[in-house]
C-alpha cells in the first residue's frame, strides 16, 4: 500500500478545500489535498455562477452581506480572469412592491454593499429584454465567476506553493489513536479510485472541507453534526438574454435570479431538503417554476431554447436545525473537534458561499495553525493566482483569439470554441478518467448540441494520443505531472497554439501523425512525408494484424476500473453524462437537437453496438442516475 506523510490533509476538492490547500501551502505547511472525483465534482461545480456583491443578503443576513462584498473586492484581483464584471441589478417587479426595496437600500448602507438606484429607463437601455413593468432598479457590484477555472487556478497556485493535489482519491476512513476524551486523528485511509488502490495518508491535521458531505466525514470519527443538504436546481437558457446579473428585489426565494455566465443565462434556484448530496433529481415542477419565475424578470424567456439543467446542494450547517432549509444560516461553520468533541487533529469547515471561500480558508488555516504552531501570516488576499494577469473574463475572448490566430480549422467543439490543442493539453496534463473532466477544463460539450459533435472528436483524439504513447507508463494518472501544467491559459485558444509543450513532448516519429499544432497544419505537415502517412500504418503489430476474437474482451465487469482510456467507454460515459443534464429539459428545439445526436451516435456511428460494452468507469453509475421527468409538474 502506498503511504504519504504530510502535515495537513485537506479532504474535498471544491472551492473551500482548494482554498485551504492554497492558503496553508503559502503559509509554509506541507499540504496534501484529496478529492474523491475530479476537482469541483461537488457543489462548486454545480452552482449558479454568481460572484455575490452581498446584495442578496443585506436584509436577511447582514453578516453574510458584509463578508460577500469584502471577498468580492478581493477575488476581482486575485482571480481576475475567472470573473466577468457584469454588474448586477435588483429590480422591483409588480409582484415585489412593498417595504422591501427601502429596507434593501438601508441594508446596503448598513452592510457596506455599494448600491445606487438607477432609473428604469437607464436599466432598460442597458438590458432591453428586462420586464418593462419594473418600477425601481438598484445597481450593485455583482459579477459572475467560472468556478471550474477558478478552482484550477487556486489549485495551481497551491501546487506552486508546494501542495500535493490528488484527484480521484476518496476518503474511506479516518485513522484515530487514543482513547475516550483523548482521541486524535492521525491520518486517513484513502482509495485511489482510478487505479483501484489503497493509500494511507498520515497527517497531523485533517481538515474536512467536504461541503454537503461533511457530516459523512465527521461520522468517520464518530461525531454527528447537522449539515442540511438543500438542493437547488438551475436552468441554463441558450440565449444570454442579459449581460447584467438581475435579481428580484425581495426576500430571497425560488427562481429569483438570472445570471449570465459565458454564453448562457442561468435561472435559479430552488431549495429543497434532500438526503443524498450525490444523486440529485431535477423535478419537472422545479424546471417549470424556474421558467415561470424567469419570465417575471425577462418576459418570454421561457420560450427560448433551454440548454441544460443541473442541481447542487447547499451545505447548510445548523447546530439545532428546525424549519425550512432556506432559513438556515449561510454563514460558514468552522468546527474545532478538539474543543467540541475532544478529538484532536480534526477540523470541519462547511457552509458559506463560493464567494467567501477564501475567507473561509483563511479562518480555517488560522485555526489549524493555532494547533500546529503558526508559520507565516495569511497572504491569499493579496496573492494573485496564475492567470489573473489576463484581466477579467469577457464574453468574446475565445472568438477573438480564434479569429485573430485563424484557428477555425482547429475547432473540435464549435459551440464553445474549443480547439484541438486546448483539448490535447488539458487531456495530457490533467489526470483524466472521463471526458467530463475535460468538459470542466475547457468547456467541451457545454454548448447547445451538448456533445453532439465533439464527443466523437474528443474520443478519437484521445485515442490517437494514447496510441502515440502520450500516456505511456503511469502518466495518465500521474497527478504530479500536472505540476508542469500551466492552467493559467487552459481556456485560451491562442495560448494553446504551441501546446504548452505537451504536443511537442511526444516521441519524434509520432509528432506529425497525431499532432495538430496549427503551424504544422496544411502544407507543413505534408512536407514531412517521412513522418506521415504510414507512420502509424507501419506499426502493424499495434493494429489488426492480431485479430482478437470477440470473446477476448477484457474481463471487466461493471464496477471494476477499466484500462485507461477505453475509447468506447469514454464515448458512452460522456453521452450519458450529457443526457443526464438534458433529459429534464427536453422539449422544442432541444428535443430536436437530441434526436439529431441520436441520429449521429445510434444510427450513423451505431455506437450502441460497440465492443467493450461491459466496461464501466468510476463515474458510470453516477452518470446513469435517472433524471428523466416524473409526473410532478407542480410542487407535490
Amino acid at each position: 500500500m502506498k503511504r504519504i506523510e504530510t502535515e495537513i490533509l485537506v479532504v474535498g476538492g471544491g472551492a473551500t478545500g482548494t482554498g485551504i490547500a492554497w492558503d496553508a501551502a503559502l503559509r509554509g505547511f506541507k499540504v496534501t489535498l484529496i478529492e474523491k472525483r475530479d476537482l469541483t465534482h461537488g457543489t462548486t461545480g454545480r452552482y449558479h455562477g454568481l460572484l455575490h456583491s452581498g446584495g442578496r443578503y443585506v436584509v436577511k443576513d447582514p453578516v453574510s452581506a458584509t463578508e460577500c462584498i469584502h471577498e468580492n473586492r478581493i477575488l476581482r484581483k486575485t482571480h481576475a480572469h475567472c470573473i466577468e464584471n457584469t454588474s448586477g441589478f435588483f429590480a422591483v417587479t409588480p409582484e415585489d412592491e412593498g417595504p422591501y426595496p427601502d429596507k434593501f437600500l438601508e441594508g446596503c448602507r448598513a452592510t457596506g454593499v455599494d448600491c445606487a438606484e438607477i432609473s428604469v429607463a437607464d436599466a432598460l437601455r442597458r438590458e432591453p429584454l428586462l420586464n418593462p413593468r419594473i418600477s425601481r432598479v438598484f445597481e450593485v457590484p455583482d459579477g459572475t465567476a467560472d468556478s471550474f477555472l477558478a478552482t484550477h487556478a487556486t489549485v495551481q497556485a497551491a501546487r506552486h506553493a508546494g501542495a500535493q493535489i490528488l484527484t480521484y482519491h476518496e476518503l474511506m476512513g479516518l485513522i484515530i489513536e487514543g482513547g475516550d476524551g483523548n482521541r486524535r486523528v492521525v491520518g486517513a485511509k484513502v482509495r485511489d479510485v482510478a487505479k483501484g488502490m489503497d493509500v494511507e495518508i498520515r497527517a497531523q491535521m485533517v481538515i474536512n472541507a467536504t461541503g454537503a458531505w461533511a457530516g459523512m466525514v465527521t461520522q468517520m470519527a464518530g461525531v454527528a453534526i447537522s449539515v442540511v443538504p438543500g438542493k437547488g436546481v438551475m436552468v441554463a437558457m441558450n440565449h444570454r438574454a442579459l449581460n447584467t446579473v438581475v435579481n428580484r428585489c425581495k426576500m430571497p426565494a425560488d427562481g429569483d435570479i438570472i445570471v449570465p455566465v459565458h454564453t448562457v443565462a442561468i435561472i435559479g434556484t430552488t431549495d429543497e431538503r434532500v438526503t443524498d448530496p450525490e444523486n440529485l433529481r431535477i423535478e419537472p415542477w422545479e424546471v417549470n417554476l424556474m421558467l415561470e419565475e424567469g419570465d417575471k424578470l425577462v418576459p418570454n424567456l421561457s420560450k427560448a431554447r433551454v440548454v441544460r439543467a443541473w442541481a447542487g446542494v447547499r451545505p447548510l450547517y445548523q447546530e439545532d436545525y428546525a424549519g425550512a432549509s432556506r432559513d438556515a444560516t449561510r454563514k460558514f461553520a468552522l468546527l474545532d473537534h478538539k474543543e467540541r468533541h475532544g478529538i484532536d487533529g480534526f477540523i470541519t469547515i462547511t457552509g458559506g458561499k463560493w464567494t467567501t471561500f477564501r475567507l473561509m480558508a483563511e479562518k480555517t488555516v488560522d485555526l489549524a495553525a493555532s494547533h500546529l504552531g503558526a508559520r507565516k501570516p495569511c497572504v491569499t488576499a493579496t496573492t494573485a493566482v496564475p492567470g489573473a494577469d489576463q484581466g477579467n473574463y469577457w464574453l468574446g475572448h475565445r472568438l477573438h483569439e480564434i479569429e485573430e490566430q485563424k484557428l477555425q480549422g482547429q475547432l473540435i467543439c464549435e459551440c464553445e470554441l474549443v480547439t484541438r490543442a486546448m483539448l490535447e493539453n488539458a487531456a495530457k496534463q490533467n489526470p483524466l478518467l472521463t471526458l467530463d473532466d475535460l468538459r470542466r477544463d475547457v468547456r467541451l460539450g457545454m454548448g447547445p448540441c451538448q456533445g453532439g459533435f465533439c464527443t466523437y472528436r474528443a474520443v478519437g483524439i484521445i485515442h490517437e494520443m494514447g496510441k502515440a504513447g502520450v500516456w505511456e507508463g503511469d502518466a495518465g494518472h500521474q497527478t504530479h505531472a500536472a505540476e508542469e501544467w500551466d492552467v493559467a491559459y487552459i481556456q485560451s485558444p491562442a495560448r494553446n497554439v504551441n501546446g504548452s509543450g505537451s504536443v511537442g513532448d511526444r516521441p519524434q516519429q509520432q509528432g506529425g501523425s497525431v499532432g495538430d499544432r496549427p503551424q504544422q497544419q496544411g502544407g507543413s505537415v505534408g512536407d514531412r512525408p517521412q513522418q506521415q502517412g504510414g507512420s502509424v500504418g507501419d506499426r502493424p503489430q499495434q493494429q489488426g494484424d492480431r485479430p482478437q476474437q470477440q470473446g477476448d474482451r477484457p474481463q471487466q465487469r461493471a464496477g471494476q476500473t477499466p484500462p485507461l482510456f477505453n475509447p468506447n467507454l469514454l464515448l458512452r460515459d460522456f453521452l450519458q453524462e450529457r443526457w443526464k443534464g438534458v433529459a429534464p429539459i427536453l422539449w422544442g428545439r432541444q428535443l430536436k437537437q437530441e434526436r439529431l445526436d441520436e441520429l449521429i451516435y445510434l444510427n450513423v456511428m451505431n455506437a450502441d453496438h460497440l465492443p467493450d460494452d461491459q466496461l464501466a468507469s468510476a463515474m458510470t453509475d453516477f452518470y446513469l442516475f435517472d433524471t428523466t421527468p416524473n409526473e410532478h409538474e407542480v410542487h407535490p
Binding site: 472528436r457 493494429q543 489488426g544 450529457r578
Partner: protein, 438 residues
Amino acid sequence: MSDLFVIGAGLSGLMAAYTAARAGLRVQVVTKGLGSMHWAAGTVDVMGYTPEELSRPVQRPLEAIQALAHSHPEHPYVLLGSHQVQVALEEFTALMAELGLPYGGAGGFGALAHSTSGDNLLLPSAVGALRPAFLAPSAQLAGDMARPEPLLIVGFTGLRDFYPELIAENLAKQGFQARAAFLPLSLLTEQADRNNVHLAQALDLQARRLKLGGELKRLARAGERIGLPALLGLDDHAAALADLSAAAGAPIFEIPTLPPSVPGMRLYKALRARLWRMGVRIDVGLEGIGANVIAANGTAGRVQWVETATTTSRPLKHRAKAYLLATGGILGGGFDSDHTGRIWETVFDLPLTIPQARHQWFRPAFMDPAGHPVFNGGVAVNAAMQPVGADGQVLYANLWAAGGALAGADPIQQHSLEGLAIATGWAAGQAIVRALAQ
C-alpha cells in the same frame, strides 16, 4: 394550383413527389430546411434491428418486416406489407441507377432482385461498429464486412471528423483484420477552415484525386481494401471513385461520419435534379405554419389551403388537390413541443400518438436499447398513408403523410430511416395518384 403539394424535402417527400410527377401530376414541394439525408449515412437502412432483438442486427430485413405483423401491427411497414416495401425499394434502386448514383446490396448492383441476396450489409461506421444497411451507394459497398479482404483505414492528419485508428481498433476487437494509416490533409486542401463538404469538393478535381490515389497505392498492402472518410467528390463523385480505385490499385470504400453528410448530399442533389427535369419546384426556406381545413364531420374533412412563411415575406397560401405531410416528426421539425409536455404537429395539428406528458417520453439511459417512447410516436395513418383519428377514420380526404412523421416506429433506433421514407413516400405517392385519378 398544383395537384400535389408536398411539405418537406426529405427522402419521403422527394420520393412521393417523384412518384406523383412521373404519373403526370403537377407537384410542388416546399421545405423549411433540408431533410435528415444531410445528416445521415447515405445508405438505405430498411431494418437493422427489430424492436424485439435490439442487440443483434437483422440479417434479412424484408423477412423481418413480415415477422413484425403480429407484434407491431401499427408499424408503417406492416401497414404496407413487405411486398410493397420491396417494390418501393426496386423503384428507388432503378431511379438511382438512372441518375448515375447506383445503390446496391449484399448481392451487388442492378435491379433489386439481382442486387441483393436479401441480406443486410454490415458496413464499418466511423467508430468501427458494424452498421446494418440494406442498400448502399456503390462507394460504400466494398466496406461490407462479409467480404474477406483485410481493411486499411486511411485518415487525414488533423481532420476532425474521422479517426482511423479508432475504427481499426474496434474492427480488430470484433475479429477483423484492420489497420490504420494517415495521410497529410494538405493532399486535399491548404485551407485552414474546412468541413467535409469543402474536402469532397476538393476531390472533384482530378489532379488531386490522382495524387491521393498514388499515396494510397504506396500505403496499401496486397489484397487490402481501403476505407476513407466519405468525402470522395461531390459533383464528380463517380469519376472520383473510379479514379481513386484505379490509382490505388485496390477496392476503395467510404465511411460516413459526422454531419454534414456528403453521401446524403449526393443523394439529395441527384433526386432534386431529377425532379427539376420533371418540372417539380422545390422551395427551400418555406415553412408550413398552418392550414385551413374543413373539419371531419361524420365524413372525412378537407384541407382547403396550407400556409407557409419565410423570414422575409408574409405568409403565403397554397391550394392543391392533394397535400402530403412529410415534415419528418421531431427530427425534421414537423412536431414541436413545450415544457408543459404539449407536443403537436405544426401544420395541420394532426393528432399524435405521443403522450402529452413529458414523464412518459423517456427511458433513463440515453442508449436504452428499447429507445425513448417520444421518438416512437407520431401521426397514425391507414394503409393508404392517410392520417386517421383514434377511431381509425380518415381525417381529411385530401391529406397524406409519410416518412419520419409517422407513428409506430423509431427509425433511428431500428435503423430503418431511409427504408421507411422510401416505402411510405412511394406508397403515399401511389395512393395520391390513384385518388386523383378518380
